[in-house]
């Protein structure tokens, strides 16, 4: 894969989209040599994608009907990026504390996990009501 591969998916942020999207993303990532070479990397990226989707579902659209979600996947030889754009509630990721290692709570691990696995976690809430989360992973380039 020399060039950039960019795909965009617009879906309602409904639970029934979670698994079909995960299948698509996993299948797409398997096309990239750097990802296909590492089952662990594929697993990690699938988890991150899953957590980001669930956060839009659970939090951005926590009230009432599930709104629209636009997901972009941008795959280059040396970089994978997920972009999640929603029109729901926004938040400030810098105010989210890391999980307390001695707490056995049921929740509060998603944002922290995404940060662990990705090289960049960039969240921006626009005045037009759109929230964009960019998740970027640098990929190992073989033979460099």
């Amino acid at each position: 894969m020399d060039d950039e591969l960019a795909v965009k998916i617009e879906v309602p942020a409904e639970l029934k989209l979670l698994r079909p999207l995960n299948l698509f993303v996993r299948g797409l990532m398997e096309q990239a040599p750097a990802l296909a070479a590492s089952e662990k990397l594929l697993d990690d990226m699938e988890l991150v994608f899953n957590e980001a989707f669930m956060n839009v579902h659970d939090h951005a659209y926590r009230f009432g009907a599930k709104g629209r979600l636009s997901v972009e996947i941008i795959l280059r030889q040396d970089r994978l990026e997920f972009r999640f754009e929603d029109e729901g509630e926004s938040f400030d990721p810098n105010l989210i504390p890391p999980p307390d290692p001695d707490e056995t709570g049921e929740r509060g691990r998603g944002v922290w996990l995404m940060r662990q696995f990705m090289d960049q976690f960039i969240y921006r809430s626009d005045t037009n009501g759109k929230n964009l989360l960019r998740l970027i992973k640098n990929l190992p380039v073989p033979g460099r």
Binding site: L15, D43, L47, N50, M54, T104, E106, R109, G110, L113
Partner: protein
Amino acid sequence: MDIEKRGTVTIIRTDERLDAIVAPQFKDTVKKMAEESALHLVVDLAKTRFIDSSGCGALVASIRALLKNGGEMKIARPSAQAKTLFELTRLHRVFEIFDDLDQAVNSFSS
């Protein structure tokens, strides 16, 4: 998800994915069983290729419900993905984890 009784031990086998689709059902099933009796439970993850933070949450909720009712919970045969996740989230200190199902079944203190 399916459930097997082996002597005094109950084994619950999770499906290919333990994610937000199935986590609530898993949690409810274990809670209900936990409230009925002091349960010795093994969660057998052998078939589970993928577990996410809501799956972890369901496991945490389960062990809490069991301990509250005098039960115990062990985890058997996690995938590499599950192990990584338990370690990152430090849940490997909360769960007793076995690579072998029989060892997990025989590990209860009774």
